[in-house]
């Protein structure tokens, strides 16, 4: 099985249906007698709803229902909950305002849902939605961190004074102060981590179906975690019995975090279906996605790194303002805190760290986890500061990193995490070698002859993923456990169905998980079917995010396979009339050691279901479930090197080479790992050079379509050079760490470090993201002026 098991680049089992147009995405699903929902959204960032006139819409052709926030409130339907509670420095819990599925009395961002129209056809629903007359009394808006923190700023929520949701901190303030007092130099930097729009190419979609006869509900939805959505709908927002709700997330066209969250439309289609007695379908138009999918990042940060004369890092102090948008999305409170502050040690032995994060409400769409979620923000700040420290001390950028790397594990950081394994020096060395770091100056000189400014930048990172040990997460404010489940059903003929609580929306679990089972049970990958995404089929699982699927879900699967082997061993021992301890299990066969007597797993399975000759007291069947709760986070790490060339006349920056060497723990399918890295790099380079969500001062989303929000296109990116430098995770049975987010974590800092390097002779010390041609051109012009 070596060609199909762990370590083999098995081509994906799921490809054929996608390549032939036979995938089933939510919008491809049509239910008998289906109707269509259109959402009426607020055109204002902040306004009082004076009156909603729905008579004209109700009279329009094909219209079945027009429903508003008042209807929702009258039926006492619940709010969308936040899944994580953060406490402020003074011990008070975060301000947690209500989040109804339809705004009631006030709207708080452009795109806030105020009413729904359900009609026989999609066109009729859209046309009637335009007839809903909402009278607004506009209110002043706070649409950015700058506006929200001004004195006398408009309040998004009356109960959140100064628009502050929480004022959190982590680390040892006194130790940091003491270290700063002794520092040779303090390197300071103000920076922005730009707001991003995830833009999975499949827009969000949902179909709600209520069966009056059985009182069963079915929800098809574009989700990364169907059980989480069922739990939130059942226990919190919609308040229906969980066992009467089936949530199906069929093929999902990319998520990147944005499809983790419980969105209003999931509740609205179910509610509307119950009202009209027919299935109700909603699919976002892209312009709706822009204004209603949770955005990512959006920090304003001041950082200070205290260094000794020899370049040793002494202490780090960070103060961040984080934009959470108008309402708390599902995981939002955790992102700028426990997914950010805890990562500020990076790869370095900095002995004292203190971070403060003030999270703010603004009149913008909610901000939540987007690929990397907090960790790219931490890496960006840290790696910019490290580059500046090298520059201000006049030491080599690679050398200062090497000097400060953590080199003994386990390592307890000053910001709560304990890293289990890593090899940062070797990773850096491999990245420098692959990127031809040593000969860069030749390329810079050659570019100069062509009138181009060439630069190179390094960034290292550590991320915490494999989210998460439930007890630790709970102590930090999580309102859910973060284990994962897997079931293995060995059928009588020896083929296998795997049921996983994780969800694949591009990650290739149907292949990777089949490889794990193939490796463990010695059956061909072709004989293993991986089932996911339907709460009526799979065990309760937490889903896919935070690069957790292999490290947590894969570990559950390995443990379930061990249970299968343990039971099969009893059956095989009985069949072979040998002691269990005398049997060896290898390549799918139990053999009595030292003999040629053996039974295949298929023969054992058949016996388990036709138990004529069977061990006394053993239950028939061969099916096992395991729930795996991780012992610790996992800590992928890596080093990214970007090489850029800038046209000084236009400011246009091209990434001409990009190298990523990552330690993602044990690799199951190298081809899939490389693909995951490629995608992350594109998003990270996108953040560095192209992407940025822009609201104007009135809170209008200026970057509201693919025409105004720059998605990286094929010609905007180079081919990537890649490598892995593996150290196994020490605390899960696979040794896997996770790869889903690595690409987007190291790359923004690598690119901006390269841009700044290209401009260093002009005295430029920082360029904010995205480094668009305009921004770079202005930077060059201003530098030349001064």
């Amino acid at each position: 099985m070596a060609t199909e098991g762990i370590g083999a680049s098995v081509l994906r089992k799921e490809d054929r249906r996608f390549l032939t147009g036979a995938g089933t995405y939510t919008d491809d699903v049509s239910r008998p007698n289906q109707t269509y929902m259109q959402v009426v959204r607020s055109p204002h960032a902040h306004a009082r709803i004076v009156k909603i006139g729905s008579d004209a819409a109700k009279r329009a052709p094909g219209v079945l229902a027009v429903l508003t926030g008042a209807d929702l409130a009258a039926e006492k339907i619940g709010n969308l909950p936040a899944g994580w509670q953060i406490h402020s420095k003074d011990g008070t819990p975060m301000v947690e305002p209500p989040h109804p599925a339809l705004a009631h009395e006030k709207v708080r961002y452009v795109g806030d849902p105020v009413a729904i129209v359900v009609a026989q056809t999609k066109d009729q629903a859209r046309e009637a939605a335009a007839l809903v007359e909402v009278e607004y009394q506009e209110l002043p808006a706070a649409a950015s961190i700058a506006q929200a923190t001004k004195s006398g700023a408009p309040l998004v929520w009356d109960q959140a004074k100064g628009n502050v949701c929480y004022d959190w901190h982590l680390g040892d303030d006194a130790a940091v102060k003491a270290a700063f007092g002794k520092a040779h130099k303090v390197v300071k930097l103000d920076l922005v981590n730009n707001r991003l729009i995830p833009n999975a190419i499949e827009p969000r979609s949902a179909i709600g179906e209520y069966d009056k006869a059985t009182q069963d509900y079915t929800l098809f939805t574009t989700s990364q975690n169907p059980h989480l959505i069922r739990l939130l709908l059942g226990a919190f927002s919609f308040g229906i019995p969980e066992h009467k709700l089936r949530v199906v997330a069929p093929d999902v066209g990319g998520g990147f975090g944005s499809k983790i969250f419980h969105y209003p439309e999931e509740l609205l289609v179910l509610w509307a279906s119950r009202k009209i007695g027919r299935p109700v379908k909603w699919t976002a138009q892209r312009s709706e996605s822009f204004m209603s999918d949770a955005h990512g990042r959006d920090h304003v940060t001041h950082g200070e790194l205290a260094v000794a004369k020899d370049g040793t890092f002494l202490a780090l102090r960070v103060s961040t303002l984080a934009n959470l948008g108008a309402y708390l999305s599902t995981f939002a409170p955790a992102v700028p805190t426990y997914l950010y502050g805890t990562l500020l040690a990076g790869c370095y032995k900095t002995p004292a760290i203190y971070v403060e994060v003030k999270a703010l409400f603004t009149n913008t769409v909610p901000v939540d986890a987007y690929r990397g979620a907090g960790r790219p923000e931490a890496a960006f700040l840290l790696e910019r500061l490290v580059d500046l420290a090298a520059r201000e001390l006049g030491v080599d950028r690679a050398e200062i990193r090497r000097k400060n790397f953590i080199d003994a594990f386990p390592y307890q950081t000053p910001v709560a995490l304990q890293y289990d394994s890593g090899d940062y020096k070797a990773t850096l060395a491999a990245a420098l070698d692959k990127s031809r770091w040593q000969t860069f100056e030749d390329r810079r000189a050659e570019a100069k002859k062509r009138g181009k400014l060439r630069g190179i930048g390094i960034a290292t990172y550590v991320e915490a993923c494999g989210i998460a040990p439930s007890a630790v997460a709970g102590a930090l404010g999580a309102r859910a456990g973060l284990y994962e489940s897997a079931s293995i059903r060995v059928h009588p003929t020896g083929t296998i169905s795997v049921f996983t609580g994780t969800h694949s929306h591009g990650q290739g679990h149907e292949t990777t998980f089949a490889q794990l089972v193939s490796e463990k049970l010695g059956v061909p990958v072709a004989n293993v079917e991986v089932v996911h995404g339907d709460t009526s089929k799979i065990p309760f699982g937490m889903g896919t995010y935070g690069s957790r699927s292999l490290a947590v879900g894969g570990s559950a699967l390995v443990n379930a396979a061990d249970k299968v082997i343990a039971k099969a061993r009893k059956i095989a021992a009985h069949l072979l009339e040998a002691g269990e301890g005398d049997l060896e299990f290898k390549d799918g066969k139990f053999t009595v050691v030292g003999t040629d007597r053996s039974k295949t797993i298929g023969e054992v399975a058949l016996t388990a279901y036709v138990p004529h000759k069977y061990p006394a007291g053993l239950e028939p069947g061969l099916e096992e479930t395991s729930f795996y709760d991780p012992k610790n986070f996992t800590f992928p790490a890596g080093c990214h090197v970007a090489e850029v060339e800038i046209d000084p006349d236009t400011g246009k920056t091209d990434v001409v080479a990009f190298t990523a060497v990552d330690d993602v723990g044990r690799v199951v399918n190298p081809m899939i790992v490389e693909g995951q890295v490629h995608g992350g790099l594109a998003q990270g380079i996108g953040q560095a050079l192209y992407e940025g969500a822009l609201y104007d001062d009135a809170g209008q989303l200026v970057s509201g379509s693919f025409l105004s929000y720059t998605m990286p296109r094929a010609a905007d990116l180079p081919s990537f050079q890649q490598g892995t430098n593996t150290t196994d995770c020490t605390h899960n049975p696979l040794g896997a760490k996770g790869v889903g987010e690595t690409g987007s974590i190291g790359s923004p800092a690598a690119v901006i470090n390269a841009v700044v390097d290209a401009l260093k002779d002009l005295g430029v010390r920082h360029v904010d993201m995205p480094a668009t041609p305009e921004r770079v051109w202005r930077t060059i012009r201003d530098a030349k002026k001064s």
Binding site: L11, F18, L19, G21, I201, D251, H678, A715
Partner: protein
Amino acid sequence: MPTITLRLNGNSVTAAVEARTLLVDLLRERLGLTGTHVGCDTSQCGACTVHVNGRSVKSCTMFAVEADGGEVTTIEGLATDGEMHPMQKAFHESHALQCGFCTPGMVMSAVDLVRRKPDASEKEIREWLEGNLCRCTGYHNIVKAVQAAAKSARR
């Protein structure tokens, strides 16, 4: 409502459509060919790319009536007798797809490129694909797949 007739994936299809009906809506909503996807509303993402009279076209940017009398091929019509088209095979072998949502449009666009320019350079491939957005792959393996398919087409 106007009635149109077109050859769709080799079969003759007649349908009464509203004048405003987009080709993609005819394909997806009326004819059940859901392999052609809709990823945007500004003709930017290319997920809906099909072939009309042999050329790649964004089917969200064309009225169904404009295809009257024409020949339309969608992703469902690309394989022959269950055998995937060389471009589909190249995408599979190069791991050029992840979530699969942009894939049908990407494949249809790439097939047209290789037909027009079988010796396209990496730069030309990347520039050709500017009308097709992918959020998963960083285009790296898509470019490799197109190169592989182009190479086999030249043989």
